[in-house]
C-alpha cells in the first residue's frame, strides 16, 4: 500500500489514547504525503472504530500467542505486517512497547528508525517526511529525514493531539499470517506488578506537584500529596527521588519517566536536571520551590520561590484549601 501504518490498540471497541495520538500524527503526515493510512492490529479486537479515524486498511495478525505481550513474538508479527503492507512510515507509540520493538523492527526491515518524535511534516517535494525530535535534553531541536524507506518512527507520548473522527468511513481488513511458535519466545513473563496510584493519573492530571532530592526523604512527600489532593492533581517525582527509593518509579516525571503537560506543574526541591525538564516542557505554568537560587529549575520555571519547602508549603496548602474548599 505504501503509506503510513500505525501500530494500533483497540480497547472496548475504541482506539486507545496512544493509538489516537498516533492516528492524529498519521492524518497530518498522510495529507502531506497524499498517502493512505493503515493500521497494524495484533490479536483480536474490533477494528471497526479505526475506520472512523481515516484508517483505510487494517492488517491483522490474529494468533493465540499474541494475547499477552512478548517481545520476540510481537516482533515477528509486526515484521510480517510490515512486509505485507510495505509502508513508507511505520508509526509506533514511544512507550514501553516502542522502546522494546521499534529499533529491532527497523533492524529486521533494514529500515531507519527515529524515536520520540514531537512533530512531523513533509518536505516541499511532497515526498520526504521530516521528523522533529528533541536532542541534548531539550537544549536542541533536530529535524531528521530518512535516506531510504521504510522508516520506523515512535511518537513521544502526550505530544500529539488525539485524532479527530474523520466521519463515517469504511475500510477493509487484511489478514496476515505469522508462523508463531512458543519456542520463538526467548523471554518469559513471571509477573506484572501494578504500582497503584490513587486519584488522578499523572499523565492526565491538570495539576502535578512533584518532589525531588531537596525533600530530604520519603516523608517530605506528605505535604505534596496534601497539596495535590486539594488541587485535584497528581503527585510526581524527579529521578533523584525515585532512584533513592522514596517513591515508586511509576511516579517519575522526565525523559525516562512520564511526560506530563498539566496546566500547573509545581516542582518542589527539584534541581532541574535536563532529564527532568525534558518531561515537563508541555506544562503551561511551572512553579519552582527550591532553596538554591542558582538551581537550573528556575531556568525552566515561570514562577519561582527561593525558600525551604517546609516553610512555603504549609501556608500554600492553607491558602489553597480556603480557595478550593478541600
Amino acid at each position: 500500500m505504501a503509506g503510513i501504518v500505525v501500530l494500533s490498540k483497540v480497547e472496548n471497541g475504541v482506539p486507545s489514547r496512544s493509538t489516537l495520538e498516533l492516528l492524529g500524527g498519521a492524518q497530518r503526515l498522510a495529507a502531506g504525503l497524499q498517502a493512505p493510512v493503515g493500521a497494524a492490529l495484533l490479536g483480536q479486537g474490533d477494528a471497526t472504530s479505526l475506520y472512523g479515524y481515516g484508517v483505510e486498511i487494517v492488517f491483522r495478525v490474529d494468533h493465540p500467542l499474541l494475547k499477552e505481550y512478548q517481545a520476540d513474538l510481537h516482533l515477528i508479527a509486526l515484521e510480517r505486517i510490515a512486509r505485507a503492507a510495505e509502508p513508507q512510515v511505520f508509526l509506533m507509540p514511544g512507550d514501553s512497547l516502542g522502546r522494546d520493538l521499534a529499533a529491532r523492527l527497523a533492524f529486521r526491515l533494514k529500515a531507519g528508525v527515529v524515536t520520540e518524535v514531537i512533530d512531523m511534516d513533509v518536505e516541499a517535494s511532497g515526498k520526504i517526511p521530516r521528523f522533529t525530535r528533541q536532542a541534548y535534553g531539550g537544549k536542541a531541536s533536530a529535524v531528521m529525514v530518512p535516506k531510504a524507506f521504510p522508516v520506523v518512527v515512535t511518537l513521544k507520548p502526550r505530544t500529539f493531539d488525539p485524532a479527530a473522527p474523520a466521519g463515517d468511513k469504511q475500510g477493509r481488513e487484511v489478514s496476515v499470517e505469522a508462523p508463531l511458535d512458543p519456542e520463538q519466545a526467548r523471554t518469559r513473563l513471571v509477573e506484572r506488578v501494578l504500582e497503584e496510584t490513587t486519584g488522578v493519573k499523572l499523565e492526565d492530571a491538570r495539576v502535578v506537584v512533584s518532589g525531588g532530592r531537596g525533600l530530604g526523604g520519603p516523608e517530605g512527600f506528605d505535604p505534596l500529596v496534601e497539596l495535590a489532593r486539594i488541587l485535584k492533581g497528581a503527585v510526581g517525582a524527579s529521578r533523584a527521588a525515585t532512584d533513592a527509593g522514596w517513591v515508586p518509579s511509576s511516579m517519575q516525571v522526565g525523559q525516562t519517566g512520564k511526560t506530563v503537560s498539566p496546566d500547573l506543574y509545581v516542582a518542589v526541591g527539584i534541581s532541574g536536571a535536563t532529564q527532568h525538564v525534558a518531561g515537563i516542557t508541555g506544562a503551561k505554568t511551572i512553579v519552582a520551590i527550591n532553596t538554591d537560587p542558582e538551581s537550573s529549575i528556575f531556568k525552566a520555571a515561570h514562577l519561582g520561590i527561593v525558600g525551604d519547602y517546609k516553610a512555603i508549603l504549609p501556608p500554600l496548602i492553607a491558602r489553597c484549601r480556603e480557595l478550593m474548599g478541600g
Binding site: 532553596t291 538554591d292 537560587p293 542558582e294 527561593v306
Partner: protein, 379 residues
C-alpha cells in the same frame, strides 16, 4: 617544562570533581548555616582514599602524588571549604607527619586507620600565648617512667572535637626554647585530655575549632613522635606540606566565587544588557581568573618540588601567601559583582568570602609567610 596535568592526574581530577559536586556541594550551605561537622562526607572521603592521598598503599593511603593532593583539596574546597580543610589537615599535618617521622610500629597502629579515614586526626601547635611564635610553647611534657605527663592548653585546634588522634607539641624544658619541643601522639580517651571550649567562627563553620585541655594527661612513651627535641623540626616540616594544602584550599574557594560571579554576570541584566558586557565587570573577572591561575601554578610548583624530594618550604610559603590573598580579593570582588544579592545569605558568595578569610590566618599568617620568604631571601 609542561604545565598540563598527566592523564592520571586528569582522571583523578574528574573523579574528585564529580564527587565534590554531587556529594559535598549540596550539603555545603547547611554545613555552614548549622555549623555542623560533615561526618557522613568525611566517612565517604575516607572510603575513597581522600584522607591519605599521598600516603603509600601499604600504610592505608592511596599512593598518589602531591599534585593529586592539591587537586583534591582544591576540588573539595570549591564545593565546601570546611570539608576541604578537614581533609587537608588530616592528610598533610597529621598523616604526613606520622609517615615521615613516625616509627614503623606507630605507622602500623595509628597511620593506617588515619589514612583510611577510619580515624580523624588533629594537629595541636597553637596555644593561647604561642600562635605565630611557635617556639614559645607553654604546654609541658614531663617524663615519668614509661609515660610523659602533658599539662597545658592548646588553642584554635581544627577538628579538635571529632579527632581520634592528636599530634600535640609540648616542651620538655622551656629553657631550651625550640630545642625542647617534642611531638606526642595523643589518642582520644586518654585521661586528662579533653575539649575545653568550641569556638564560634566567622567562616569554615563546619569544622570545630577547639580549645583543648591537657591536665596530667599520661601519654605512653611509645607515642612520642620522633625523638625528644625533634618537635620543632616536625612542626616546620609538616607546616610546609600543610601550606600547599591551604594554598589549594584558597584556590578552591576563589574558584567557586569566580565561577559563581561569572555565571551571575552573564545572567544579570541591567540597563538592558547582561552586566558581563560592562568593562568594569569584565576587568574584575579578568583579574579574578588571572590571579587564580597564578595561585594554582604556585601551589603546583611547590607540590612538584615536594614530589621530587627537593626543598620546597620557600615555594610553599609563597603559594600559601599568594593564594590566600587571592582568595580574599576574589571573594570580595565576587560579592561586588553580585551587588546586594552578594550580601544576603540566599546566595553562596558571602560564604566564600567568610571562608576565604581564615586562609590568611591559619597554618601561618600572611605576615609569618612573608617572614619565612624574607628569611630565605636575605638569610
Amino acid at each position: 617544562m609542561d604545565f598540563g596535568l598527566t592523564q592520571q592526574q586528569q582522571l583523578f581530577q574528574e573523579m574528585v570533581r564529580e564527587f565534590a559536586e554531587k556529594e559535598v556541594a549540596p550539603r555545603a550551605a547547611e554545613v555552614d548555616e548549622e555549623a555542623c561537622f560533615p561526618a557522613e562526607t568525611v566517612r565517604m572521603m575516607g572510603k575513597l582514599g581522600l584522607m591519605g592521598v599521598t600516603i603509600p598503599e601499604a600504610y592505608g593511603g592511596a599512593g598518589a602524588d602531591t599534585i593529586c593532593y592539591a587537586i583534591a583539596v582544591e576540588e573539595i574546597s570549591r564545593a565546601c571549604a570546611s570539608t576541604g580543610v578537614i581533609m587537608s589537615i588530616n592528610n598533610s599535618l597529621v598523616c604526613d607527619s606520622i609517615h615521615t617521622f613516625g616509627a614503623e610500629e606507630q605507622k602500623r597502629r595509628l597511620l593506617i586507620p588515619l589514612a583510611r579515614g577510619e580515624k580523624l586526626g588533629c594537629y595541636c601547635l597553637s596555644e593561647p600565648d604561642a600562635g605565630s611564635d611557635a617556639a614559645n610553647l607553654q604546654l609541658t611534657a614531663r617524663a615519668e617512667g614509661n609515660h610523659f605527663l602533658l599539662n597545658g592548653v592548646k588553642n584554635f585546634i581544627t577538628n579538635g572535637q571529632e579527632a581520634n588522634i592528636a599530634i600535640v607539641f609540648a616542651t620538655v624544658d622551656r629553657q631550651l626554647k625550640h630545642k625542647g619541643i617534642s611531638a606526642f601522639l595523643v589518642e582520644k580517651g586518654t585521661p586528662g585530655f579533653g575539649v575545653l571550649k568550641v569556638e564560634k567562627k566567622l567562616g569554615i563553620r563546619g569544622t570545630s575549632c577547639c580549645q583543648l585541655l591537657f591536665e596530667n594527661c599520661r601519654v605512653p612513651r611509645e607515642n612520642l613522635l620522633g625523638g625528644i627535641g625533634e618537635g620543632f623540626n616536625i612542626a616546620m616540616a609538616s607546616l610546609d606540606g600543610g601550606r600547599i594544602g591551604i594554598a589549594a584550599q584558597a584556590v578552591g574557594i576563589a574558584r567557586a566565587a569566580y565561577e559563581a560571579a561569572l555565571g551571575y554576570a552573564k545572567g544579570r541584566v541591567q540597563f538592558g544588557q547582561p552586566i558581563a558586557s560592562f568593562q568594569a565587570i569584565q576587568f574584575m573577572l579578568a583579574d579574578m581568573a588571572t590571579t587564580i591561575d597564578a595561585a594554582r601554578l604556585l601551589a603546583y610548583r611547590a607540590a612538584i618540588l615536594r614530589d621530587q624530594g627537593i626543598q620546597y618550604g620557600l615555594e610553599a610559603s609563597m603559594a600559601k601567601l599568594y593564594a590566600s590573598e587571592v582568595a580574599m580579593c576574589v571573594t570580595t570582588k565576587a560579592i561586588q559583582i553580585y551587588g546586594g544579592y552578594g550580601y544576603i545569605t540566599d546566595y553562596p558568595v558571602q560564604r566564600y568570602f567568610r571562608d576565604a578569610k581564615v586562609t590568611e590566618i591559619y597554618e601561618g599568617t600572611s605576615e609569618i609567610q612573608r617572614l619565612v620568604i624574607a628569611g630565605h631571601l636575605v638569610g
